[in-house]
């Protein structure tokens, strides 16, 4: 390659004639062919020639220059400022970093050429393309089909194709070829009858700008010509936008396993040896126990289990422990949560301040947990989530079974992003495209290791991902995510259940629903009572009529209130903000009554069978055409594209083929299924690599490729490329089994190393990129909270179902409502509303999903220390922990502080204290008992609370 380029360069250096300003004989400015083209060829030709057209730009001919690139704008304009090419070159953005920039002379020449009218010697045929239906359809899709399309045919009119436009509705054809003035659609638009002014918001359309109307007119005037344009899809011809060189990037080649090496330890050991190091000694048994438990199930072992492994004399105790943990139902709760981060799981829609709750998002959460527990092969897991609706024809099935339901729930993966399209005002095409963009973004960053987001507006700056490929990719989803035929969460409802599900719902829920309705009425009354009592208590002189007026004012939106109403409400707010001790007894009683009713509501809801509603994505078999959107703007359509995967991940000569999955059944495009099958081919360069790298990251703290979400050119290179490939191949060979992958990693010596750092290791392997030790890691938010609950005996370990509600106090502190007094479920089962994340979780880096979270940050801030030391809830748990210790003591050692301390260590830290720690504990307990004036329980509580605050508890070796 270099060699060939060298030749080309030389060629032009010889032939390209230098131009000096003022030296041209004719006095005319420089000319394209003689002066400029050689410069372009030298400095730009690698990417912008006839053969290679990065960004859709060909600078080898004047026609190409005039046509410009994917933005649809010519590369040069009338003036310098209007010339995109000049702006890029002068601004130093082009040629890109690493390529030779233009010389001063070349810049001067280019400037002179453009400002003197960009002359060319050969006549340039102006490329006046006649208008076709594809100039008009995007306009009609955007402005008309919501009322004249598949769902609705107002006036009997359907405008989705030129044929249908001609076919007419009740009042005749929508257009008369050759006569725009006589065409009904032009008349309707120009008289502003369509889209109707008072219904713009109802149908989420905006009026077309004049330029769009002009385009419609011109096309009709030209006789409404229809040309057979095939959508842009991959063909067997070479792709001008992506080169063979681009495909050579390491991560775009299928992984190949090194035949010589057969284990993780060999790969790691060999590299360590090169640096004069070897693996650290094996960690102590108790360390391994705690590490494996927190790693696989996210909680420390129970006392029994710890004792079992601690004292096992079985040589295989460790592998037995790993098997035991992988079989635990808590495994899926731990590892499923990682996947939920990637999917961007949330229990609310987000986007608007009301942040509506997603009632049944939890079904997807349960699906994920179940899949991990059942060790669903990863390829199958992906196929279900990407195309579960195209696997079995549910719509045509006589009887719905569990598999069908599960497949549909799985597609919830594509519905996890922020979605404001159910709101009254935020369901226009740009917002819908945003929702689609988020789904694509999630797939790219979580599964493919690609930053697809970038090429929504322009070709990727670093990776060979042309903008075209983004829109081909978008076309894959068009059958389900159609911005011109949109189902928002308000207007789509999928209720599917097996006969058994249906029966359970029918039997259980109706009486409970009645009870709920009754309770909710009581709740409203109770709220009013509280308010009235607060006012009575705080403002005894206020007229009763004003109190009632206050309640009435609350029903008016706050920004529609008169000043009088505002003032009344504000008095109430002041009364509501009073600290408890200043509130009247009557108001306190009313508050208790309200709390009582609210608890009853929660209880009734818990007893209800989950509804049959599913949050899914399904293909509807009638996709609108997909157009590239220039600069990503919804009203700047470019060429028509068809479905396809990024060209750089293919050999560039294989078309993307999809076919309807149920030819005799429900119509579906089958595009997502084809994509999922392509993605899960064993030789796919990214799928297995990206996933094993993630699993590695969770076990070892850092990915082999550190940029988990970016395997592209700008991503980091793997620290151990051969190991990564070997793992990827092993993973696929072992049937994409995730549990097998855990075994592979955790049974290695590398995983069982000690985390102690020596001077030598820190010097030779400062970042631990060589894996010369295990990293010390802080528990993430879930592991911390779950461990607190577990250790203190406050864990309700019932799995699944609707999320546990949260409550928000006046300080905005969010806490999870217990399932029964003093008991809470695991953190994965709490409600995660985007606007109300439980405070403990948020403080320990529970992320903002935007749209997903590819890697959690780990912060160490004082708010965490404050929370763990001062928060009431944490203290309650410490107290429960102390009581548990007391209950575990037998009569003989009830007074023995040493026995207490030993138990605390075993439960909280899965080990016995060292002599020093025991001694320190005894002294501390004695001191605390004194300071608590002899209250032993309080002393133990403080001691337990301190242990739960200690680094030894929070960090895992």
């Amino acid at each position: 390659m270099n060699c060939r380029w060298g030749t080309v360069l030389l060629w032009f250096t010889v032939l390209g004639l230098p131009f000096r300003a003022g030296s041209a004989a004719s006095g005319a400015g420089p000319a394209f062919e003689t002066h400029v083209r050689p410069v372009f060829a030298r400095k730009c030709g690698k990417c912008h020639s006839e053969k290679v057209q990065k960004g859709g730009l060909d600078l080898s001919s004047m026609a190409g220059v005039r046509r410009g690139g994917e933005s649809g704008e010519a590369a040069i304009g009338e003036t310098l400022d209007e010339s995109l090419l000049w702006v890029y070159v002068e601004g130093g953005e082009m040629p890109p970093k690493g390529q030779t920039p233009l010389t001063e002379q070349e810049l001067e020449l280019l400037k002179h050429w453009i400002s003197s009218g960009s002359r060319s010697e050969m006549p340039v045929e102006p490329e006046e393309k006649p208008l076709t239906q594809h100039d008009v359809l995007p306009i009609v899709l955007l402005r008309c089909v919501t009322c004249h399309g598949s769902r609705l045919q107002r006036g009997g009119v359907d405008l989705r194709t030129p044929e249908l436009m001609l076919k007419s509705g009740k009042n005749g054809p929508a257009l008369v070829p050759g006569d725009p003035d006589a065409s009904l659609m032009i008349q309707r638009i120009e008289s502003e009858a369509c889209p109707p002014r008072d219904q713009l918001l109802k149908y989420f359309v905006r009026r077309p700008p004049q330029s769009d109307v002009e385009t419609l007119r011109k096309w009709i005037a030209a006789g409404a010509p229809v040309v057979d344009v095939q959508p842009d899809v991959a063909t067997t011809e070479p792709d001008p936008l992506v080169t063979e060189d681009d495909r050579k990037h390491w991560a775009f080649q299928s992984p190949v396993a090194d035949q010589q090496t057969a284990s993780i330890d060999e790969f790691i050991g060999a590299r360590l040896q090169e640096h004069g190091l070897m693996l650290s000694p094996e960690a102590e048994r108790d360390t391994l126990i705690r590490r494996a438990y927190l790693d696989l199930v996210g909680m420390p072992p129970s006392l029994d289990e710890w004792q079992r492994w601690h004292s096992s004399s079985d040589a295989d105790w460790y592998t037995a422990m790993i098997d035991h943990l992988l079989a635990s139902p808590h495994y899926g709760e731990r590892w499923g949560r990682y996947w939920l981060d990637l999917a961007g799981y949330a229990d609310s829609e987000g986007g608007v301040s009301a942040d509506p709750v997603r009632e049944v998002a939890w079904k997807y959460r349960d699906y994920v947990v179940r899949s991990f527990n059942e060790d669903t092969p990863y390829d199958r897991f992906l196929i279900e989530q990407l195309a579960g609706d195209e696997l079995i024809d549910v719509e045509a099935a006589n009887v719905v079974n569990d598999e069908m339901v599960s497949n549909l729930i799985a597609t919830g993966f594509l519905r996890m992003g922020i979605d404001q399209t159910g709101s009254r005002t935020m369901n226009f095409v740009p917002e819908r495209i945003g929702v689609i963009g988020d789904a694509i973004n999630v797939i790219g960053s979580s599964v493919m290791g690609l930053t697809l987001e970038c090429c929504r507006c322009h070709s990727h700056k670093y990776d060979a991902l042309p903008q075209r490929d983004y829109y081909r990719f978008k076309a894959i989803f068009q059958g389900a995510f159609d911005e011109h035929d949109w189902l928002s969460f308000k207007n789509r409802k999928l209720e599917i259940g097996t006969p058994a599900d249906r029966q359970r719902v029918a039997e259980t829920n109706p009486p409970l629903q009645r009870a709920l309705k009754h309770l909710e009425a009581q709740q409203r009354q109770a709220i009013a009572n509280v308010q009235i009592e607060l006012l009575r208590g705080q403002y005894p002189d206020q007229l009763e009529a004003d109190r009632l007026a206050t309640l009435a004012a609350l029903k008016i939106a706050d920004n529609d209130r008169t000043l009088t109403q505002r003032t009344l409400v504000e008095m109430l707010q002041k009364a509501e903000a009073l600290p408890g001790e200043q509130v009247s007894a009557a108001a306190l009683a009313a508050r208790r009554e309200l709390a009582n009713i609210e608890q009853q509501i929660i209880d009734v809801k818990r007893r209800m069978e989950p509804p049959l509603t599913i949050r899914a994505l399904w293909d509807r078999g009638e996709p609108s055409p997909t157009y590239l959107l220039r600069r990503g703007e919804h009203d700047k359509p470019g060429p028509l594209v068809g479905p396809g995967v990024p060209s750089v991940l293919t050999d560039g000569r294989t078309p993307f083929v999809s076919e309807p999955p149920f030819p005799d059944g429900t119509p579906k495009t089958g595009r997502r299924l084809a994509f999922a099958r392509w993605l899960t081919r064993p030789e796919h360069p990214l799928t297995a690599r990206v996933f094993v790298n993630r699993v590695w990251y969770h076990h070892f703290g850092t990915g082999l490729v550190r940029s988990l979400e970016n395997f592209g050119v700008k991503g980091e290179r793997p620290s151990h490329p051969e190991l990564l490939d070997w793992l990827a191949v092993e993973f696929v060979d072992r049937g994409w089994s995730i549990k097998e992958l855990h075994r592979l990693l955790m049974n290695s010596r590398t995983y069982q190393q000690s985390s102690r750092v020596t001077d030598e290791r820190v010097q030779r392997d400062p970042q631990n990129r060589l894996l010369s030790r295990m990293p010390l890691r802080r528990m993430n938010a879930e592991a911390l909270r779950d461990s607190l609950l577990f250790v203190s005996g406050s864990l309700d370990d019932s799995p699944g179902g609707p999320p546990d509600p949260i409550s928000v106090d006046r300080d905005g502190q969010v806490s999870v409502v217990p399932t029964s007094p003093g008991r809470w479920r695991r953190s994965i089962y709490s409600q995660y509303r985007r606007t109300e994340i439980p405070s403990l979780m948020a403080t320990f880096d529970y992320p903002v999903m935007g749209p997903n979270c590819v890697e959690r940050s780990v912060s160490t801030v004082s708010l965490q220390s404050l929370l763990l030391t001062n928060n009431e809830h944490v203290r309650e748990l410490a107290s429960a922990f102390a009581s548990r210790i007391e209950s575990l003591q037998n009569e003989s050692n009830a007074d023995d502080p040493k026995a207490q301390i030993d138990l605390v260590y075993q439960l909280a830290l899965s080990r016995l204290p060292s002599d020093v720690e025991r001694q320190l504990g005894v002294e501390a307990l004695t001191e605390l008992r004194n300071k608590w004036l002899g209250d032993r329980h309080a002393a133990l509580e403080t001691y337990c609370h301190t242990i739960l605050n200690s680094a030894a508890f929070l960090y895992v070796d």
């Binding site: 987001e453 750092v757 905005g812 940050s857 160490t860 404050l866 200690s950």
Partner: protein, 491 residues
């Protein structure tokens, strides 16, 4: 990470050398403030973690891109959209046409439709020129108008969305959607903190309740949480969990703290070269210091009677806002980088009864705001403190139908007024022009991105150079297309 480079002092090495033993830690702690030129201890909390990983996220003071004229910001956020034509941007033509239909295309006015649009409504208050500069302000701002010569009115701001939610996201984070860092978060990401013992970015909420959009107004979005705003509680202990929420004799607390220190020291000693553990110990000691400092910073009883009365503390209408303005000054004095004051929900959102409602909102805020400016000025703090006043959009020249008839104005994203003062702003200026009705900008438009770029500029940050790499994208406060620093309003 690609914010401004850090002052990478040798504090880290120092830590490494002395980190053995409790004594070492304590010594480090004592010395670092003296030896390292006041390098923030708060900063140290994320410091160690940060150094272990490639992404370095902390609150250490950072170098600016260019010399700053402002080192701290007080943002007086006016939730709901104050009306420009009633407060700062007088429209005689509009006043004359009071009661007549809007002469242009009504669709240009309507946000969601045209059904609710009423007739034109003239300004509700009397305007006069103020100060030597002769800035226009309405008579409901009798105090602010006295500070006119320090104020720069930007009459030509415009935004992209007529809904509160989105416009709030936009004005705070530069984007129309949730999940992006606010400009306060960007500021502390770019500059770090000057304070030893207080959070870098403090939010002062209304005791009556949170503002619309709640905590999302001060989120760090995709930036690490160390950059998010810390709300100070209006009553009780200022920071959540600052004090034990349970009964425990202070002697016990002391013993527990001592025990924790010793346990952690044992733990750390067995695990050398683990900077996370240093950071953790720091975070506990900062937590302890914060208990003292926050209390002191928030204690208004240390202010003189005249200062209190200047802010209107103790007066019925101004007490609440006055306290928060005074607190803002005390926090800035103590090195807090960014202070935001919010009001409950959206007091300026006057769809109904605009005259009385706006008058009411002015009566609460005008005096405290003016006092804040005067007080900062007197203490020489205004030079380095940028004060920003404004909401998320403006209001329409026409009335809107509501339960109370046609007596208020709808949202207007096409034009609104904000003002800035101090920190390198040219006082006594009015920038930008709107049409005869105050409905749209006709001259010198300032986009929200321009507004943010200008604020960053005053703080010594360049909006193009301040970015955060996320999923392969360089994310900026001001988005993809370069914004414009409004240099005409800089002193």
């Amino acid at each position: 990470m690609s914010g401004p480079s850090e002052n990478r002092d040798t504090r880290r090495d120092f830590f490494a050398r002395t980190s053995d033993g409790l004594f070492g830690a304590a010594l480090t702690h004592l010395l670092c403030q003296d030896f390292f030129d006041g390098a923030s201890v708060l900063a140290a909390e994320a410091d160690a973690v940060a150094h272990a990983a490639p992404g370095v996220f902390n609150l250490k003071p950072k170098q600016t891109h260019h010399p700053a004229t402002a080192t701290s910001v007080i943002h007086l956020f006016m939730n709901g959209g104050p009306s420009q034509m009633d407060l700062f941007d007088p429209k005689p033509v509009l006043n004359r046409m009071d009661g007549q239909p809007y002469p242009g295309n009504v669709e240009d006015i309507g946000n969601q439709g045209t059904a609710d649009i009423g007739v034109m409504m003239g300004g509700q208050f009397k305007f006069a020129r103020h100060g030597e500069s002769g800035l226009w302000m309405a008579d409901v701002l009798p105090h602010t108008s006295q500070m006119a010569d320090d104020i720069c009115l930007i009459n030509s701001l415009w935004t992209d969305h007529p809904n509160h939610d989105n416009a709030l996201y936009k004005i705070h984070s530069g984007r129309l959607f949730m999940g992006y860092p606010t400009f306060g978060a960007w500021t502390v990401y770019g500059l770090g903190s000057e304070s030893q013992n207080l959070p870098a970015y403090v939010v002062l909420n209304d005791p009556l309740g949170p503002p619309k959009n709640g905590t999302r107004n001060w989120t760090s979005g995709f930036l690490p949480p160390v950059y998010q705003g810390t709300p100070f509680r209006p009553t009780g202990s200022p920071i959540l969990n600052l004090k034990p929420q349970f009964d425990q004799p202070s002697a016990v607390t002391e013993s527990a703290r001592g025990l924790l220190n010793r346990l952690d020291e044992i733990h750390r000693k067995e695990r050398p070269h683990n900077p996370d553990l240093d950071a953790r110990i720091e975070s506990y000691s900062l937590a302890a210091r914060m208990q003292l400092s926050a209390g002191e910073a928030l204690d208004l009883s240390r202010e003189s009677r005249s200062t209190l009365s200047m802010y209107g503390v103790g007066e019925k209408l101004t007490d609440s806002y006055g306290r928060r303005c005074l607190l803002a000054r005390r926090l800035v004095e103590r090195g807090v980088r960014f202070v935001q004051i919010f009001m409950e929900e959206q007091p300026w959102d006057s769809h109904a009864d605009l005259g009385p409602n706006h008058r009411g909102a002015c009566e609460r805020t005008d005096k405290p705001v003016a006092a804040l400016l005067a007080d900062l000025k007197e203490r020489g703090l205004l030079e380095s403190t940028l004060v920003i006043w404004g909401g998320e959009f403006g209001r329409t020249p026409t009335t809107q139908k509501s339960a109370a008839g046609y007596s208020g104005r709808d949202h207007n994203m096409q034009a609104f007024t904000s003002w800035m003062a101090g920190g390198g702003i040219k006082g006594g200026t009015a920038y930008g022009t709107t049409d005869d009705f105050g409905h749209a900008v006709v001259e010198n438009p300032v986009s929200v991105h321009d507004f943010h770029a200008t604020i960053l500029h005053l703080l010594g940050l360049h909006h193009q150079k301040l970015f955060f790499e996320r999923a392969g994208l360089e994310e900026r406060l001001t988005g993809v297309k370069p914004a414009r620093v409004v240099s005409e309003i800089l002193s």
